[in-house]
């Protein structure tokens, strides 16, 4: 295998076991992917320090924690489809391929919040409670940053945001959903969003590599993409940390 070939598969946290495909990446995209992998690994490690997530690791996560998690997640998911569609509209006609991919992505996910609402009710919450929930401080910061970046012309750096958020979708499915059910006695009805999202994100990762190959052509673009990934990782963690304040 040469330096410009990589084996990819279903997510940023592993090179993958199934459906392994070999794709070529240009040298800048290759370096970008190396750095994104480190941002992801650091993000994933630091998530383990967030009290709510640590309780999943330590086995003390409760039904009340899950309700709180879902209440806080809903706003981020609603806003998620907004910055993704804004990103698509900010690309000019020279980036029509990437624009199509992002529009499709937004289509796939823009009603995901309804799944969260169903999960919330199945967990014992009321629809009014989750719909009345406003954005937490971290969600405000994350949403504000993403809308600002996505409003700029040809915002290729948002690939860094997608990398983190898609990666998290898979992590929810593979590491959290089953464990949450095991700890709380809740069933599949309470973790539909987490499980569906991870399953769906496999295809998104393939698109991600294609987009990276297309837009990451200079050292400057590497730096932009990696920096946005770092900011999103930090603000996403802030959003999860802020859930704790609601619990108190």
């Amino acid at each position: 295998m040469s330096d410009s070939e990589i084996a990819i598969s279903d997510g940023p946290k592993s090179g993958g076991v199934e459906n392994k495909e070999i794709v070529s990446l240009n040298p800048h995209a290759q370096v970008c992917l190396q750095q994104l992998l480190r941002v992801w690994l650091g993000f994933e490690r630091d998530l383990s320090t967030v009290p709510l997530i640590r309780r999943i690791d330590l086995g003390t996560y409760t039904v009340e924690d899950h309700l709180c998690f879902l209440r806080n997640l809903r706003q981020q998911v609603i806003e998620g489809s907004r910055w993704i569609t804004r990103t698509a509209s900010s690309f000019d006609s020279e980036h029509s391929e990437i624009r199509s991919a992002i529009i499709q992505h937004a289509m796939d996910e823009h009603k995901d919040y309804e799944l969260i609402e169903k999960d919330y009710i199945a967990t014992g919450g009321s629809i009014e409670d989750i719909q009345d929930m406003s954005r937490n401080i971290g969600s405000e910061a994350l949403h504000g940053f993403l809308m600002y970046r996505s409003s700029r012309p040809n915002p290729i750096d948002l690939l860094g945001a997608m990398w983190i958020i898609e990666g998290l979708g898979e992590k929810m499915a593979t590491s959290w959903a089953e464990r949450i059910q095991e700890l709380t006695g809740l069933n599949d009805d309470s973790t539909r969003f987490m499980r569906y999202h991870g399953h769906n994100d496999g295809d998104h990762m393939q698109q991600f590599y294609d987009m990276l190959e297309e837009v990451c052509l200079t050292q400057e673009s590497v730096e932009l993409i990696v920096k946005t990934a770092k900011v999103v990782a930090r603000l996403y963690r802030l959003q999860l940390e802020e859930i704790e304040y609601e619990i108190r």
């Binding site: 330096d3 990589i6 190396q34 690994l41 630091d46």
Partner: protein, 378 residues
Amino acid sequence: MSVYITSTGCFLPGPPINCEQVENVLGAVNGQASFLRVQIQKANQIEPRHYAIDENQQTTHSNVEMATNAAEQCLDRAFVARENIGMLAVASTQGDHPAPGMASMVQAELELPTIEIISTHGICSSSTMALKAAWNSLRLEEHESALVVSSELASRLLKKQRYEAATESTFAEKKIDFNTEFLRWMLSDGAGALLLQNKPSPKGLSLRIDWMKGFSHAHAFPTCMSVGSSGRIGETKTWQDYDSYAEAERKGALLLRQDVRLLDNIVRMGVDGYLRLVEEGINKPNEVDHFLCHYSSHHFKNKILEMLEAAGVAIPQERWWTNLYTRGNTGAASMFIMIDEFMRSSDVQIKEGDRILCFVPESGRFNTTYFHLTAVSA
């Protein structure tokens, strides 16, 4: 000041024990064959391994004896008189005595007169800690030579009597307690030794130590591999907090455990450290001729390789070398046992100038260590 590994030695106790015989040596708990043995052995793909206990679970070699035997072999192969050794560094997960440090006991057994000693305590990476301490002492020109020994006697923790005595533990309550049983079919015993000097050996190849780095992530993750607590959710007591050691044993606080769900984090953090060293320009994967990676199980080899491939910095499989499958996972001792056999093995040709990357991850609480060697001659 350059420092070189000029001699190596190893000791593996007793005859090689194959998969089918393992339960005869460790003993079937309460006379019942394990439900998990075959599954775990199939995943780790370790064939023969060695134990310092016999089929009646009686200790045949103490940890200090194993360390001493490996050190003696290393010294017998060295071009330096043992009186001239200035420092002894000894690593193990658990010495024969909780106190004093194991280096004191090994020094006495080796009859090495008045030297500086250090005992490092941890799990797999304690070997790298001992090596680094010795390397630094030579770099500071405090000594001209240092003996570094790493020895592991895990089987005393894994024998059937330990589990049978834990009558009020999670192991006694559950039909299958994967976390408590997992390491029973993974670990075995052995010792390795390296001699460091401030000049290469006058004959044959020596290994110059180019750099050593370590990254611990204990601040972020819960404990993953441990002895000393009951393994129950929310339990904060450790073994000496119980009224008696007998009570600690009944409650399962003296059993070796692995939180298997957290294990993937060691692969991720291992790859993270590797990428960090690539980014800093210290690790140059395409210049590495041999990659000695202490993975505890074949299962993890594939996971590591996949992630490195995804990042485009993989070392091709034909440059990986290990003796895990034939010598077992001996924890802290593994890397030294690996280096010793690597230097003598006929299945690999080591040439002057060859570059060797060594990686020792520790799942205990997520410490990852790396060092780089270059083969040189005098």
